[in-house]
């Protein structure tokens, strides 16, 4: 743990088994206030499972999950969570999918639509507000899901491979947008990705997970100053970190 940040989220010795699949074996990690932390690990090691447990969708078998220092049993709705699948509801237009968190809060259809309409340009989805999900490309759906997560943003955010289906340019745009959001909202973000450069560019720290049954294999602190910019990606520190991560894998 760097510095003297307050811990927003803590996992202590968390374990999870599905029937005969021993998925997560003893994971402990922390996410500090206004911190950006990435998780990297092999496919199927249990990253999404960790998120499901943090958000309260499934119960840990053992261990403890603490929010703001205290173990919270009923965690649903305390964090905002962007799933690995886009999970857009097929019966709602994109704009209504994005506005859904507001509608759930009780905002009227019109007000909710008005509130989210401005986001579509930022996400490169202008003109697709009134399409249904099946009329969008994979990457567009992913961005729509990201928008929806942002609309529901709590100050702890869990993002599961949010930019996995995007091209380099769109991805870069989204990353920079996210960095801006992070400092503006003062959110604490836990981020799953398979893209090592992305992890370094965005994070304060990176957890490296082992294969199933998974543990935290290594914790890497990213010593790049904030605010970040793309020029840092050719800096010595960046290249070193990248090598280290590739090696540790």
């Amino acid at each position: 743990m760097t510095s003297s940040r307050k811990n927003r989220l803590e996992l202590v010795g968390v374990k999870k088994t599905f029937e005969d699949t021993f998925a997560v074996s003893d994971v402990s990690l922390v996410l500090g206030e206004n911190e950006f932390v990435s998780i990297i690990g092999p496919s199927g090691c249990g990253k999404s499972t960790l998120f499901n447990m943090i958000s309260g969708l499934i119960l840990e078998d053992e261990g403890e999950i603490r929010i703001d220092g205290a173990p919270v049993k009923e965690r649903k709705g305390l964090v905002s969570y962007m799933y690995q699948k886009d999970l857009l509801l097929s019966w709602l237009k994109i704009i209504d999918n994005v506005a859904l968190p507001l509608r759930v809060k009780g905002v009227s259809k019109k007000a909710a639509r008005d509130e989210v309409a401005g986001l579509f340009e930022t996400f490169g989805l202008e003109g697709f507000e009134h399409k249904y999900p099946h009329q969008l490309s994979g990457g567009m759906r992913q961005r729509a899901a990201m928008m929806r997560t942002y609309v529901y943003s709590k100050d702890i955010m869990l993002l599961d491979e949010p930019f996995g289906g995007l091209d380099a340019l769109t991805k870069a745009k989204m990353q920079d947008w996210l960095l801006g959001v992070n400092s503006a909202l003062e959110a604490s973000i836990l981020f799953i990705t398979h893209d090592i450069e992305e992890a370094i560019y965005l994070s304060d720290r990176i957890y490296l997970m082992s294969d199933r049954p998974s543990t935290i294999k290594e914790e890497i602190v990213v010593d790049l100053p904030r605010p970040r910019n793309r020029d840092m990606m050719v800096s010595e520190t960046f290249t070193q970190l990248k090598k280290k991560l590739l090696h540790s894998f």
Partner: protein, 255 residues
């Protein structure tokens, strides 16, 4: 997509029906079947035309009973499904009773209905409801249960309570099933009213049918059946239309 070949309009049904009707007419006219066991379509049509003025009031009564009962059944089913979905205990307690309510032949209950609801429109409406609500609620509950757990988690994660989950995920996802149920029920609605009238009444198509049957006027009886069929199919078609309007995303899907 690309599968527009099926779009051949309504003529196959029409042709098929016309062929059937022609065969029927022929069988009666050729004397293969006796006119007192099956009247010829032309006699039925003739009876329909001469009787229609007198039938108007009967039709109106039946339509009212069927309409009120059917709408009540839809409302009741949705409300009950909501309740059953919210409170698993209610579902467990009530589901067997619902099934039970359908296994008792209505005609057996007829005398009891008379005792409980009197002899006006009420017992007929109750019978229509009883016949109609079951397919609706069974289909709807099955649809609600088949909701995608991930989608439910998503919205739960947004702080949605039970009602919000129902409103945003379960119910829209179960609309296909709901409409299956409603379509089945629609088909039964007019018939339910007729059965109700059959069990005692002063007007309506059921009463009319009983009377003409009593005097062996099979042509008039079939004319009344024809009206029941036409009315029922009209309701059925209206449901189809409603589904297209209420489920734009799936209509859209065809492109």
């Amino acid at each position: 997509m690309m599968k527009k070949s099926a779009n051949t309009g309504k003529w196959p049904a029409a042709v098929f029906l016309a062929a059937l009707t022609a065969l029927w007419e022929l069988s009666v006219k050729a004397g293969w079947v006796d006119a007192f066991t099956l009247p010829a379509p032309t006699s039925v049509l003739k009876a329909l035309i001469t009787e229609l003025p007198g039938l108007r009031s009967h039709i109106w009564i039946t339509l009212q009973e069927a309409g009120v009962g059917f709408l009540a059944a839809i409302g009741f089913s949705i409300a009950l499904a909501l309740l059953m979905d919210f409170v698993p205990l209610v579902k467990k307690g009530l589901y067997p009773i619902l099934v039970l309510s359908q296994t008792v032949p209505i005609i057996v209950l007829a005398p009891l209905f008379g005792m409980w609801f009197g002899f006006g429109m009420t017992p007929k409406i109750v019978i229509v409801m009883l016949v109609c609500f079951f397919p609706i609620i069974v289909s709807l509950l099955d649809g609600l249960e088949a909701a995608d757990p991930d989608e439910l988690h998503l919205i739960e994660g947004m702080g949605a309570g039970q009602f919000q989950q129902f409103r945003w995920v379960k119910f829209p996802g179960a609309l296909v099933n709901l409409f299956s149920g409603i379509r089945i029920a629609a088909t039964y609605s007019i018939m339910g009213a007729v059965i109700g009238e059959w069990l005692g009444g002063t007007g309506g198509l059921g009463v009319y049918m009983l009377r003409v049957r009593h005097s062996f006027a099979l042509d008039k009886m079939f004319a009344a059946i024809l009206i029941v069929v036409v009315l029922s199919i009209a309701v059925f078609k209206a449901i189809d239309l409603l589904q297209k309007i209420l489920m734009p995303w799936s209509a859209d899907r065809e492109n």
